[in-house]
Structure formats: C-alpha cells, structure tokens
C-alpha cells in the first residue's frame, strides 16, 4: 500500500515535471505570466512528491519488504537499520531516485534565489532544470524503478555491498552524486540567461557564481571524502588512482574550477561573457559524462556499484546537452557581444584566462586518457590500458603550473601590471621559494621535481600570507587594532579572502600529494604472532590476532604495538573482513600525524595467525584530509552576500540603455571615470 503510494507519487512527479518544462518554455516564449507562474509552482511540488516516494522506499527497507526488487537486492534481514541510508543509493535505481530528489530540492532553492533577481531569465532556467529532472525521473520510472515489485516476496534479501559499510560511505556517494547533478544549476542559470537573450548582460553573474561555487564545494567535499575512503578501506595506501570513475568526477570539478574563476572577470570587468557560458556548458557535459561512466559506461573501472546497461541513455542525454548548448549559442550569438578588451598582456584578467586554459588542459588530458582505450579498441582493435603512470606524468607538470599560477595570479592587479611592480610584489614569495628549495636540498630531498614542487607550494603560501599581513598592517596604521584590522580586511572583500583560504587548502592538498607520491615507503612483512619488524623509524610487534565469525562475515583483527624512537605509540588494530560471496573489506590501522602516516593493513593469511601485512610510511598525507574545512570556510566566506544594494543599483541603471547593450556595472565605471 505505502509502496504503491510512493510509486504513484513518483509517476506524478514525472508528469508534473514534464508540465513544468512545457509551461515554463511556452510561457517565457509567449510571455504568458500565468503559465510561467504555474510552471514555477509546479516545480515547487516535485520535492514533496519525491519525498513521498523516498519515504515509501525507506519504509520498505525498514520493514524488510523483500517483495520490492530493489530492497531485496540491496538489503537483508541482517542489515542494521542505519545502513538503510546507504542501501537507498547503493544500487542504480535507488541512486537515480536519490539524484532526482536531491536535484529537485536544489532546483527549488535555486529558483528562490533567481525569481526576484532575474525575472526574465528565471522561466527559462526553470524549464531547463525541469528538463534535466524530467530525464532522471523518466529513466527512474520507466527503466529503473526502485519501487518495482517482484512477482513474489523473497524470504531474505541479498544484502548490502560490504565495501559500502564504512563511515565514509554515508557521505561520499551522496555528496558525489549531489555534486555532479548540482552542476546543472549554474548551467541552467547561465543557459537560461542565454536563451532569454540576456547572456550579454551581467545580471545572471552573481547568482550563477553563487551556484557555481556551491556546486564546486559539494564536488570538492565528495572527491575528498572519496579519496579518504579509498585511503582507509581499500588497503593500498593510496587515495587517488586515476580510475575512470574518479576521473569522471574530477573532470567536471576542473571545468567548474575554471568557471568560478573566470566568472569573476565577468563580474568585475564585463568580459568573457561567451567564454563563461562555454565553461559552464562544458562542466555540465562532463558531469553528465561522469554519471554515464558510473552507470555502465564503456570503460572498465573498480567503481561498479551502480552498474547497469542504461549508460548509453546518459550518453544520448550528454549529446543532447552539447548540441542544445551549441544551438543556443548560435541562436543567441548576437546578444553575447562583450567588450573583449585588455589593457595589458600582464594583468589579472590574463592570469585568469591562463588558469582556465591550464584547468581545461588537465580536464581534457584526463578525458583523453580515460576514453583512449575505447578509441584504441575501436580504431585499431588494440586493447590497451591508460593508467596511473600516464596521468601522473602528463597531468603532474600542468598541475604544478597551476599551483605556480595560484601563487602569482592573485598578486597581479586588474587591468594592467608592469613587470617591475610584479617582481616587487613577488619578491617575498620567490625569496621564500628559493630558501625552501635550499633548506630542503640540505635536508636531503634530492628529487628535482619534488624540490621544485615544494618550492612552488611555499611560494603560493607566502604570497597569500603576505597579502593578509600587508592588508592588516595598512589597516592597523589607520588606527585599528590588529584583530579588528584583520577581521575588517576580510569582511571588506570576502570573495578575495575567501578565495585565499581555498587556495591555502589547495596548497595543502598539493603538499600532501607531493609528500606521499615522492616519499612514501611501503613494504610487505610476513609475520607470526610475537614477531617484530621495523620500517623507517617505526618498530612494530605483531602481538596477537582474533578471529570472529559473524553471520555474514569472518573478521580477522590483528593487534600491533608500535614504537618509534624508543617511544610507545600504542596499539594498532588493522582488520580484514571476509564476507559471504568472497568479497572482502580491509580496514587499515593508521596512525596519522602532520609529518607522516604510519599505516598497517593485512593482506594475506596463513595458519594460526600467520599473515602478510603491508606497511606504509607516507609523509604529509595528513594535510590532505584537513584541507576540507578550509574549502568550506573559504567558500562560505566567498559567497556570503554583501553589497546587494550597489549591485541592484547598477543593474537598475543599465536598464535605461538596454538598446546599447551596455551593462550597469561598466556604465557605472565609465561614468564615474569620466567625471573624475
């Protein structure tokens, strides 16, 4: 009964969404306010309907209703109730419902921010968001309905994928799915503005940027959590393997990173209008590609949680997005004129553009490497693998160039810089970079690439620190105390200082990646209980082991006592669970410090506790995981609203000379300039 209600709600949601698409576009085209309004209200009802469907699915899970196919496939009597949350999206059908539900909520939130600010764009954006939603709901209803019933009820379900039983799995997959689908929001806003013929005006920029950054943050957290999960549970001491599914989550992130930067140039200078639309369209297309690869795409991957044969449908939708965007560009090309004028080759604007080029390069190298095996197979019949070594070698230098640019770009002035000023501003960062390289070389770091990379990181951090110090000092000189000066400095330009905080986080990621990829040490040890071994400065004794048989798994837990330099570091207990059906999951024991991680994971077992353990000492990995809060803090700061009044004024002013296509912001700038 409840399941049927949920099914009905799901079908209704699809119908309403289709209506919203028609009503919004038709209403916007024919300028029928009532139709537009009905479309918007229609969209408001979708989250409610999907909440009913989701509640029905949760109900079926909690009550172990194995007459529902999806519940039977992803749950069992033995599964603790709290894993219902994970089981909900553990399979293809449920994850589609999750995506649709989450996206409907995001769309409504986005609409709230759009309606008043962009009255002309909003109906088109509503139609676009509804179109995306309709696709997902259509697939859910017709091809992968999580509420579909089996002809008969099973006694017990198949149970949840054991690899998903981990704290990270409560957050990483939903974050990742939410992140990928959320790219549709800035896309809909930007494309809505384009369709409305308002792409040449900068009124959509603030709200587009806001949603671009929200999306960026969700994707970032999703990626970070995914890496952390891989690090703690997959038992290979790494966190990123350039696996196709990882790549497909990274690519939209890269394009979106380019977008949230380049949109600042439009916000400040009214430039790059066309380019920003292209970037956001590319980001969304790549996000769709991500969902495509994750759902039975053509490339083999370890992430097969949501495998299905419907991948090609996603490919079709991706092509539709791409062609649709192109058509929209062609149709509205004349509205996109922007004043693409630079005062100098050396300026913040060109740094932004260079950043865009580098990020897109990484995105397309990643795309190239990910799909090349398919190309090779199709064109030459040759099956090859493009794996980690390729990506590290090709993307590594470009990523390093990005960190370098991150150190230089924010220090360049808008409009025009001259070489002497730039060098003056860069003297501290460059100096510190040189000193860092020197000290590290003396300390024993010989790999030239590692030296260079760490020096570049030091440069980026110094550049940012110098900016804070300089800004605070200059305010302090005007009579503010240091803490006040610091606070006001940040408050006065949140996008800038929020950005710096995010940049610090990125540098921490870079430091962690450099440390662990150049200086990680690993070794396998075959030990029997009571035996002792050592790696680096760590000495560890395999004290004892414990084997427990649970109904669904056998769990092996080893306990180690660890010493380092004569100091007891306590007990570490790596674990390995072998589930029915030969799947096994390891839980590494990790002792993490800012300097290095000491990591033990069991890999093979013999008789009487004899086992092979893999041990890693991985420097600086800690810094990667603690960068997360910085991303959140920085992003929240960067999008926190301010100066709405001045912006509204600017938009209001520009309305007077709409015919000339001159924007309020620039108008304001020019007029004020002229007077001066």
């Amino acid at each position: 009964m409840i399941v049927d209600t949920g099914n009905l709600a799901l079908l209704l949601a699809l119908l309403v969404t289709c209506y919203v698409v028609v009503a919004s576009f038709l209403g916007a085209w024919q300028r029928i306010p009532a139709l537009i309004l009905s479309g918007r209200y229609g969209l408001y009802t979708v989250p409610v309907l999907l909440a009913i469907s989701s509640a029905a699915l949760v109900y079926a899970f909690v009550n172990n209703d194995f007459s529902v196919r999806y519940v039977a496939e992803n749950s069992s009597l033995a599964m603790p109730v709290k894993y219902t949350w994970v089981a909900f999206y553990a399979g293809n059908a449920g994850s589609l419902l999750f995506i649709a539900g989450a996206f409907s909520v995001l769309s409504v939130l986005a609409l709230f921010t759009l309606v008043k600010r962009l009255p002309y764009t909003a109906p088109f954006s509503t139609g676009l968001m509804a179109l995306v939603l309709a696709f997902f709901l259509g697939v859910t209803v017709f091809l992968a309905n999580p509420l579909e019933r089996l002809p008969f009820a099973l006694a017990d379900g198949e149970g949840i994928n054991p690899l998903l039983i981990h704290f990270g799995m409560f957050i990483h997959p939903p974050m990742q799915m939410l992140g990928l689908i959320s790219v549709a929001i800035p896309f809909s806003i930007a494309m809505g503005a384009l369709l409305a013929g308002r792409g040449g005006r900068d009124e959509w920029v603030n709200v587009g940027r806001l949603w671009g950054m929200v999306s960026w943050l969700i994707l970032t957290i999703g990626l970070l959590l995914g890496s952390w999960w891989a690090y703690t549970i997959l038992g290979w001491g790494g966190y990123w393997a350039w696996d196709p599914v990882e790549n497909s989550a990274l690519m939209p992130w890269l394009a979106l990173t380019a977008f949230v930067h380049s949109i600042m140039v439009q916000k400040r200078r009214g430039m790059f209008r066309m380019w920003n639309l292209v970037l956001v369209a590319v980001a969304f297309t790549l996000a769709e590609m991500g969902m495509f690869i994750n759902r039975g795409g053509p490339v083999p991957s370890v992430h097969s949680f949501a495998q299905s044969t419907m991948g090609w449908l996603f490919l079709f939708f991706m092509g539709f997005t791409l062609l649709g965007s192109l058509a929209a560009f062609a149709w509205r090309f004349d509205t996109l004129k922007s004043r693409e004028r630079l005062d100098s080759l050396l300026s913040r604007e060109s740094a932004f553009l260079a950043q865009n080029v580098l990020f897109l390069t990484v995105a397309f190298v990643t795309l190239w490497g990910t799909i090349y095996p398919v190309i090779s197979k199709a064109s030459q019949g040759l099956t090859i693998t493009v794996g980690e070594p390729f990506f590290n070698r090709v993307n590594g230098p470009v990523l390093l160039a990005i960190v370098f640019l991150m150190g230089v770009g924010p220090l360049l002035p808008w409009r025009r810089a001259n070489m002497r000023n730039v060098l003056r501003v860069l003297r501290y960062p460059l100096g510190v970079a040189a000193v860092t390289a020197g000290v590290l070389a003396i300390a024993g770091i010989r790999a030239p690439v590692a030296l260079l990379a760490l020096a570049v990181c030091a440069m980026a951090v110094t550049g940012i620190a110098h900016e804070w110090v300089r800004g605070t000092r200059s305010r302090h000189r005007k009579g503010e105390s240091y803490p006040t000066a610091f606070g006001r400095l940040v408050a006065a330009n949140r996008p800038r200082y929020g950005g710096y905080i995010v940049h610090l986080g990125i540098t921490m990621l870079a430091v962690g990646a450099i440390g662990s990829s150049f200086y990680a040490v690993q070794r396998d040890f075959a030990l029997v209980p009571g035996e002792e071994a050592s790696l680096g400065k760590y000495t560890f004794r395999y004290v004892d082991f414990q084997e427990v048989a649970y109904p669904d798994r056998d769990e092996f837990t080893a306990s180690f006592t660890v010493r380092s330099g004569g100091r007891e570091l306590g007990v570490m207990e790596p674990r390995r669970s072998s589930y029915r059906g030969s799947i096994s999951a390891t839980r590494a024991a990790i002792r993490s410090t800012p300097l290095e991680d000491f990591y033990i994971v069991p890999s093979e077992f013999g008789e009487e506790g004899q086992a092979v353990f893999r041990v890693y000492v991985s420097p600086l990995v800690w810094w990667m995981w603690v960068s997360g809060p910085l991303f959140i803090l920085g992003m929240v700061l960067a999008v926190s609203p301010r100066r709405e009044r001045a912006t509204a004024l600017a938009v209001g002013l520009s309305r007077a000379d709409r015919a000339q296509g001159v924007t309020g912001r620039r108008r304001l700038g020019l007029t004020a300039t002229r007077r001066a």
Binding site: L353, Y372, S379, I384, N421, C457, V521, R645, R666
Partner: protein, 176 residues
C-alpha cells in the same frame, strides 16, 4: 610563519629512512605498472585479489633472478596481452595517447597568447569607451552621478575593492 612550519614539517617528514631493500623497491616499481587482469583499473600493487598476490610473487622472483623491468613486463604482456600494462605503449599508433596532450597544451597556450594579444590590440575597444555615454541627457547624467556618489560613499565606509575598481581609473594601481 606557516611556510616555516611547513618547511620544518617537510624536512622532518622526508627524513624517513630508506629501510626497503633495493630489489624490493624495484619489484614495487614494476608492480605499480602492471594491471591486475581481473580487477580492471587496479595495479597488482594495489589489488588484494589472489591473482594479484600471485603475480606479485612472480615479479619478486624474477627481480631476484636478475630480470629487468622490460623483460618482466614482456613476460606478462605475452600472457595477458598489452592491456596488462598500465602505461600505454609508446610506439605505433598508441604513441598518439602520449603526443596529444603536449601538442594540445601547446596549441591551447598559443591560442591563448593570440587571443590575449588580439584583445589588447582590439582597435574597436579604444573607441568604445568614448561612445558608451553619449546618448544621455544632462538631467539623466546628473541623476546618475548623484546615485553613483551615494553608492560609492556607502561602500567607501567599508573600503571595498569593488569601489576602487569602479571609481578610480588608475589602472596600474594595485587593488586592495
């Protein structure tokens, strides 16, 4: 400060001794480049599949017997085909996978340079600045100035960069 902390951290962090015999290191390097045939995308170094464990054993054996990395790779390619190598081959048409990225980057940077130069030189741009304002009547303009001044004064209290960007024409001046 932060840089200094980092510096010390890194220096200490990397002081981790070797502790791994040379042969074992070599074996690890080779294992990282060979894919586990039954667990796509994972190297035999990462994978805990029994086949990967077995293949690791073969690698260590061969390394101890003095085989070179190339020979060991060839050994596995013979058994599992060229896709067993995580690194795509650098010969024949597969060379394309390696060549495309640097060529693409070079083209992109070249395009970037040309675009930027075109934007700097854009002849229309110089004129445009002057054209923008002409259609305003005196009264309209006065109204604009009044409202702009109000807005700028509002902002100036908090010293925003936005205001600086708008109201000053000193292009070379560094933003706050």
């Amino acid at each position: 400060m932060l840089a200094a902390i980092l510096l010390v951290g890194i220096a200490l962090g990397c002081a981790v001794g070797e502790g791994v015999p040379v042969l074992e290191r070599r074996a690890q390097d080779i294992e990282k480049g060979i894919m586990c045939p039954v667990c796509p995308g994972e190297s035999i170094d990462q994978s805990q599949h029994p086949l990967a464990v077995q293949m690791r054993g073969i690698v260590s054996e061969k390394v101890e017997e003095g085989w070179t990395g190339k020979q060991i790779e060839a050994f596995f390619v013979e058994r599992y085909g060229p896709s067993v190598l995580l690194d795509p081959p650098r010969e024949g048409l597969s060379l394309m996978v390696w060549l495309a990225p640097p060529i693409g980057l070079a083209l992109a940077l070249g395009a970037l340079f040309l675009v930027l130069r075109a934007m700097v030189r854009s002849p229309a741009s110089a004129a445009e600045g002057a054209q923008g304002d002409v259609e305003l009547s005196e009264a309209e303009r006065d109204e604009y100035f009044r409202r702009i001044d109000a807005a700028i004064d509002d902002d100036r209290g908090e010293g925003t960069e936005e205001t600086t960007g708008r109201s000053s024409n000193s292009g070379a001046g560094k933003a706050i």
